[in-house]
Amino acid sequence: MNSATLTAVVVGFMVFFTLGTAFIAVSDTTESNDLDINIIAKANINGSGIFADRPLSIDPKSPSEINAWGGLVFMTPGPGSIQHYMLGKFVVEDLGLKYAMYSTGSLSSDTVYWTPVAPVNMRLVYLSGDNVSNGGFPWEPYYSDIILTVDDVYAVASSEEIEENHPCCMVAAKTSFLESNEAAVLRFLSAYMEALDWVNNALASKDSENPGDYLNLLFLTSEFSKVSPTTLEDAFGTLTYMYDLVDSSGADSLEHYTSNLIESFESLGIITKKVDDPTAFANKFINHTYLNKILKDGKTEVYPEKKVKIRVGHLGGDIHQIGFVIGMKLGIFDKYGVEIISTLYPNGPGVMQAFQLGIIDIGILGLPPAVSNTANFR
C-alpha cells in the first residue's frame, strides 16, 4: 500500500468515525411509553395443574409435609409463564423454600427446582430414562393427559387450588390496529363472545338429556388438540371460560393482578426495562373500551356479506383458547363478517413475537408473556 492510498484510508476512517459519532450523539434513543398491545378480553381462568411422582400436600400442616417438597425437580413452561410464576410464588411464600433452576449436581433439601420443558413434551420427558424431574406444571389438556395415562403419577393440585380464579389466557390486540379498526374489533369481539357463550352452554349441557352440543364440543376440541375426548372431559373440569375482564367472583382485579405481576417480574429479572408506574401501565394495558361497548350496546349486527380480514395468532393444541377455535369451526366469525386468517404458535412468546413483527392483529396468549414482552419491548 503506497503512502497516498494509506492516507486516503486513514482520512476515510476518520471521516466515518466523526460523522458516525455525530449521528449517534444527536439521535434520540429514549424508551417509548407507548404499549405495543392491549388486552381486550379474557379467554379463560385456571386450567393448569401440578403432577408428581409422589403424593404432596399444597396445604402442609407439618414440617415433614413441607420437607417432602424439598429437593424435588418440577418441569415448568419456563420463566415468563403463569405456571412457572405460580409455582415459584407457592414455593417461596407458602412453603418457605427456595426456588431455583435445576442444574446437574446435588440437590438441596431447602430448595424446589425447576427445569424448562414445553407442556406438550412433559409426558415424554417424564417417562424418559433421564430421572431429571419429579413432576411438572403443564397447562391443559397435557395435565389431564399425564394424570390419566401415566402410571404411578399423582395429581398434586389444580392451579385453581393454588390460586383461586387466577387469570390465564387473554385476547390481546395490536394497539395501532385497535385505534384504526374499531368496527372490525367490535365485530371480532361480538363473534368471540358468542362462541364462548356456545362453549359454556355446551359444557353446561353435559349432564342434560340432550348433550348434543357437548359431544360436538368434545369432537371439535379433540380434532384441534389431537387429545382424546376422555382426557378432554377431565381437562374441561379444571377450566373456566370467560371473556369478561371484570371477574364477578370477587377475585383480584385484572389490573391489580397485572400490576403485582410487573413488580414480581422486575424483581425476578424477567422485566428488564423499569416500569415507572406499574398501576398506570396496567390500567393502560387492560383496555375495557371495546368489551364494555358491546356489553352496553349489544353485539354488532351480523354482516355476512361485508367481510373484514383479521390476522389472529393463537396456540396450537391449547384448549384454553378453544372458544376462538369453535368460533371459526362453527362459522360464527363468518356470520359477523369477519374473515379470520389464523396462525398457530407454540407458545405465548411466539404470539408476542408475531405482534412485534406486525404479522398479526389479534393474538390469544397467557397474561405473563403479554405483560413481560410488552414491558421489555418499548
Binding site: 468515525f17 458516525g20 420463566p79 442444574s103 427445569t115 424448562p116 431429571v132 425476578l268 419491548f377
Partner: protein, 268 residues
C-alpha cells in the same frame, strides 16, 4: 506517511499491524451496528451501549431468571460441546481410517453416508433429545455436527497418502498394523485436524439449537432462547457475543494445533 516505514520482516511491526487492524475493524463493526440500530429503531436491535450495560450486569449479578451465572451457562454449553466432540472423535477417526484403507468398506458405507450427510445436524435435535434423554440428546446433536466433517476429512486423508510410502514401509518389513500406525495415522493427522476445524464451527451451531429444545441445567443456547422470548434483546446480544468468543477460542485452539502439526510434518 508519518515518517514510519512498515517492515514486514519485523515481528513487532507485524504484531502492531495486527493489533491496529483488529482494533479499527472491530470499532468499525461497532459503529456500523450502532448506526443501523438507530436507523432500524426497534428494541430487537439494541444499541451497543445497552448491550454493554447488560454485559456488565450479567457478569456481575448473573442471570437472575435462572439463578445461574454466565460462567455456569458457558460451562454447561462447553460440557455438551466437549462430550459431543469426544464421541465424534473416537468414532469418526477410526472409522474414517478403516473406510479409507478398505475399498470394500468404502463402497459399502458410501450409500449410507451419502444418505445421512445432507440432513442438517440441527434437524436431528428434536429426534435425539426426545428419543434419548435431555442429558444425552444435546450431546448427540453436537456429535452429528462434528462427525461428518471429521469422517470425510479422515477418509480423504487416507486416500491422499502416497502409495509409495506404504510400499516403502512394506519393503522395509512393516506389517499391516505397523503400516496403519506408522504411515497412515501420521499422514492423515493434518486432515483430521482440518475436519476438526470445520466440525467445531458446526458444533457450536448445533449446541445452540439443541439447548433451545433441551435446556437442562442452562447453557448459552437456552440463555439466548429465554431472553428472546422475554424480549430482553440486549441480553440476547450478550449471549451471541459470548458464543462468538467461545467459538473463536475453540476453533483457534484447533487452528493452532493444526498449524503446529502441519508445520512439523512439513505440510506448510
Amino acid at each position: 506517511m508519518f515518517g514510519y516505514t512498515y517492515d514486514a520482516e519485523n515481528k513487532w511491526h507485524r504484531f502492531g499491524k495486527l493489533i491496529l487492524v483488529t482494533a479499527v475493524s472491530l470499532t468499525t463493526l461497532v459503529y456500523i451496528w450502532w448506526i443501523l440500530a438507530i436507523i432500524i429503531d426497534t428494541p430487537a436491535v439494541p444499541t451497543p451501549d445497552l448491550v454493554w450495560a447488560a454485559f456488565n450486569k450479567l457478569f456481575a449479578e448473573g442471570d437472575i431468571q435462572t439463578g445461574l451465572s454466565m460462567w455456569e451457562h458457558m460451562f454447561a454449553s462447553l460440557k455438551r460441546f466437549i462430550g459431543g466432540f469426544v464421541l465424534a472423535f473416537v468414532i469418526a477417526v477410526p472409522l474414517g481410517l478403516l473406510i479409507g484403507y478398505s475399498k470394500f468398506l468404502d463402497e459399502f458405507t458410501r450409500p449410507m453416508i451419502e444418505f445421512l450427510k445432507p440432513i442438517a445436524p440441527i434437524a436431528w435435535a428434536p429426534v435425539f433429545i426426545f428419543a434419548t434423554t435431555l442429558t444425552l440428546g444435546p450431546i448427540l446433536v453436537v456429535f452429528v455436527g462434528i462427525f461428518f466433517p471429521l469422517l470425510y476429512n479422515t477418509i480423504f486423508g487416507v486416500k491422499k497418502i502416497d502409495p509409495n510410502l506404504i510400499d516403502a514401509a512394506r519393503t522395509l518389513g512393516a506389517n499391516n498394523g505397523q503400516v496403519f500406525y506408522k504411515v497412515m495415522l501420521p499422514c492423515t493427522t493434518p486432515f483430521i485436524m482440518n475436519g476438526m476445524r470445520i466440525g467445531f464451527g458446526i458444533g457450536w451451531m448445533c449446541i445452540v439449537a439443541a439447548e433451545m429444545i433441551a435446556p437442562l441445567g442452562g447453557g448459552l443456547g437456552y440463555f439466548i432462547s429465554l431472553q428472546s422470548v422475554l424480549s430482553n434483546w440486549p441480553y440476547v446480544f450478550v449471549g451471541l457475543g459470548v458464543i462468538s468468543v467461545l467459538g473463536i477460542l475453540t476453533t483457534g485452539l484447533v487452528d493452532y494445533a493444526y498449524r503446529t502439526i502441519a508445520k512439523r510434518m512439513g505440510m506448510e
